[in-house]
């Protein structure tokens, strides 16, 4: 057990910190989602120029070839420096690794570099209105037509779709095969008539997500990934990829909210109220346990090549902590925290999505019960 970073890791971190200090993107442009996205794309370009965009990508694909641990450090430091995620996050975290794992050489040549440089933005077309947590019941159809596939259906929760050139699309290529066996994984060009993007407004007022209406869209068979009928398996790899790095970023963000809250309690003198101190210490304990458990998950993967129970628990821990911290922030700060121009009001509302997005807490608990504890299904 060595809960410090190794020399190489410390060097990596120090180099990154120095780079982030010198290249910090500054304040987020307020209020305009297009401007905010453009800012995050620029940020990725700067990261890429510095060699920090594809940190976890192999060197041969233009990445830094970082270890799992370095990748975790990267996301922690990104969060700690209060920098945003790179604009093409889904490309870097999902599309790239999927193409590397399952793609043909042609696909790798064609797609990887523009992901890294954020020249081409990617979105993810998995969820559907009727399917929710139940990927196996996807209804979007892909029908073979010569060298193409013709796509019809509807997707939802596709973030960044309005800016995306490409979509990772899971569609049903065999409606007779049982459930998830008939699914295939495609790379769909978003710039075609058959694809309509409609922003999906959230309760925060923002439009982080979109709906995708797909009518007779066409995808060349060259853009099938991992072979016909393997969509489920290909998608699973990607989902795993999404979680691990992001978890460290999110964990740090919550920790920062909590530190901001400590700062507020200090300045306002409220920290001298024992109830406030007691509450904040309770949250800190949970934040620290979350951080440690996330690292334990990495150790497990490093040692045994596959995630242990820790991995299944961190999203659950984080989402519940983030909800509780943001609610308590509102209580502590008072009415000013729930006016529209307070960032706390955004954090409060946004947190309600945490126990839903990326697998609801109910689904996560099912997974823990069934896959980690081996409890029977009904």
């Amino acid at each position: 057990m060595d809960l410090t970073f190794s020399e190489e890791e410390t060097e990596f971190r120090d180099e990154l910190r120095a780079w982030l200090d010198a290249n910090h993107p500054g304040e987020e442009p307020a209020g305009d989602e297009n401007a905010e996205f453009a800012w995050r794309v620029e940020w990725q370009q700067r990261l890429n120029e510095g060699g920090w965009a594809g940190v976890h990508w192999p060197v041969e694909y233009g990445g830094r070839g970082a270890t799992l641990m370095q990748s975790a450090i990267f996301f922690e430091e990104l969060g700690r420096s209060r920098s945003p995620l790179p604009g093409n996050g889904l490309g870097l975290l999902l599309a790239g690794p999927t193409i590397m794992a399952w793609g043909t050489d042609e696909q790798k040549d064609r797609y990887l570099n523009p992901i890294l440089s954020a020249e081409e933005i990617w979105c993810q077309g998995f969820s559907e209105p009727e399917a929710g947590s139940d990927l196996a019941s996807l209804k979007t159809m892909a029908v073979r037509d010569g060298d193409d596939w013709v796509i019809n259906g509807q997707k939802v929760w596709t973030s960044a779709a309005q800016w995306s050139k490409w979509c990772m699309l899971v569609a049903r290529t065999d409606s007779d095969a049982p459930k998830h066996k008939g699914l295939s994984y495609f790379l769909m060009d978003m710039e075609q008539e058959g694809v309509e993007v409609r922003p999906l407004k959230q309760m925060t007022g923002g439009t982080e997500f979109n709906e995708l209406f797909i009518k007779d869209a066409r995808i060349s068979n060259d853009n099938l990934v991992g072979g016909e009928g393997n969509g489920w398996m290909v998608a699973l790899t990607t989902l795993m990829n999404e979680r691990s790095g992001l978890a460290f970023f999110l964990q740090v963000r919550t920790r920062q909210l909590l530190e901001d809250l400590f700062g507020y309690a200090n300045e306002s003198g409220k920290i001298h109220d024992p109830c406030v101190a007691d509450k904040l210490a309770g949250f800190y304990t949970r934040a620290e346990v979350l951080r440690l458990t996330a690292y334990r998950g990495l150790t497990q993967i490093e040692r045994y090549g596959q995630p242990g129970p820790e991995g299944a628990l961190t999203k659950w821990m984080w989402s519940s902590l983030n909800q509780d911290v943001t609610q308590y922030a509102a209580d502590l700060i008072g009415p000013e925290a729930i006016t529209s121009d307070s960032h706390w009001s955004y954090e409060l509302m946004r947190a309600r999505g945490n126990t839903i997005e990326g697998g609801t807490s109910e689904i996560l608990k099912n997974i823990v019960a069934e896959r980690v504890l081996g409890l029977p299904r009904k």
């Binding site: 959230q202 309760m203 729930i338 006016t339 509302m349 126990t355 807490s361």
Partner: protein
């Protein structure tokens, strides 16, 4: 020890429910919320029915009923979120009636009771209220302060600036300006205000529970209505628990205000705590029960969540009510070996 309503109250409840469900359907709530408007037509109608003054003495143009009757109206208003200043107007009037001077009562109550003018309420720190429930047209505000006092502010003489909050179903403003003390029992006035608010919160929780239950009966996942999954079913059961807890406490507080002042202080604190916690938990669970849909602007759960969040702050946090309640019980337990409070 009977919680049932009398015939008048049943009639009031029936009218309020039918009227508000018809005139403040959720698409209407959404329209007003998105436009940032009040529903002046509906407000005129409610004023004609005497709603803002239901708990105000007939001497001042009110209906001469009590807080129980006001609570019945506010619960339905919480269920339906009409874009009208009912809570602030009725509670401002109630506070003036409870703690105002004769002159203050004569000057303000007739206008508030008939709805000719509207009222505002909030909590002021150092003379300034950051977020009052206050329409831009409100004429008078009652601002409670942390020391247990309350000031009456003529809004013609004050700086009133609209404040956008996360809750667009009601108008809010900051208020700064000179005011005069309410000379009477401002604790009693505050207790009535939080009791009234707890009725609104009960309605909020109640509707959130209804929405969730309806949704999970209908919505299917993995081929089964999601309400058949025990995790979801138990979540809904918990929503009922939160709602009924809020309701029990809110009825008790309203009754105490009308019938037994000696019980009001504790009852109001209990109602404040139970209704704020109940409504926040229940409306959060309502979003969760709806899954991804619940997080969208197009779905309705967020209106109730947001109102619950604003009410939770409007008259101070529950931690103050907790501290007050603990003091009161500790004194009582300290004073008597035997607790014979009923």
């Amino acid at each position: 020890m009977r919680f049932g309503f009398d015939d008048d109250q049943i009639e009031i409840q029936r009218t309020a429910t039918a009227l508000l469900e018809a005139r403040s359907a959720l698409d209407r709530v959404r329209e007003n919320a998105e436009a940032g408007t009040d529903d002046n037509g509906l407000w005129t109608e409610l004023c004609e029915l005497g709603w803002p003054g239901i708990a105000i003495s007939e001497d001042f143009g009110g209906q001469g009923f009590g807080l129980v009757e006001l609570a019945i109206l506010l619960e339905q208003a919480g269920r339906t979120l009409p874009a009208v200043p009912l809570l602030p107007t009725a509670t401002a009037a109630l506070a003036i009636q409870t703690a105002g001077s004769d002159e203050q009562k004569e000057r303000w109550l007739p206008g508030l009771a008939t709805g000719e003018i509207s009222g505002a309420i909030g909590v002021a720190v150092n003379g300034r209220c950051e977020v009052a429930a206050c329409a831009p047209t409100a004429a008078v505000a009652v601002l409670f302060d942390e020391e247990g006092g309350a000031r009456l502010v003529d809004l013609a003489d004050a700086l009133v600036e609209p404040v956008d909050t996360i809750d667009p179903t009601r108008r809010y403003s900051s208020i700064e300006g000179p005011g005069v003390e309410l000379p009477g029992d401002t604790d009693a006035a505050f207790d009535r205000a939080i009791s009234a608010m707890s009725a609104e919160l009960t309605g909020v929780a109640s509707r959130a529970t209804e929405l969730a239950v309806a949704y999970v009966k209908d919505r299917k996942q993995f081929g089964t209505p999601v309400g058949a999954y025990q995790a979801v079913a138990h979540m809904c059961a918990g929503m009922l628990l939160g709602t009924e807890s809020s309701r029990s406490a809110s009825y008790h507080a309203a009754w105490a205000a009308d019938a037994d002042e000696s019980k009001l202080s504790e009852a109001a604190a209990v109602a404040h705590i139970a209704s704020v916690e109940g409504a926040r938990d229940v409306t959060s669970a309502c979003i969760q029960a709806h899954g991804g849909i619940g997080f969208t602007w197009e779905a309705d759960p967020h209106w109730f969540y947001k109102r619950a969040q604003l009410d939770a702050q409007l008259l101070g946090g529950t931690s103050e009510s907790r501290a007050r309640l603990a003091d009161s019980i500790a004194d009582r337990v300290g004073a008597a070996d035997e607790a014979d409070e009923d």
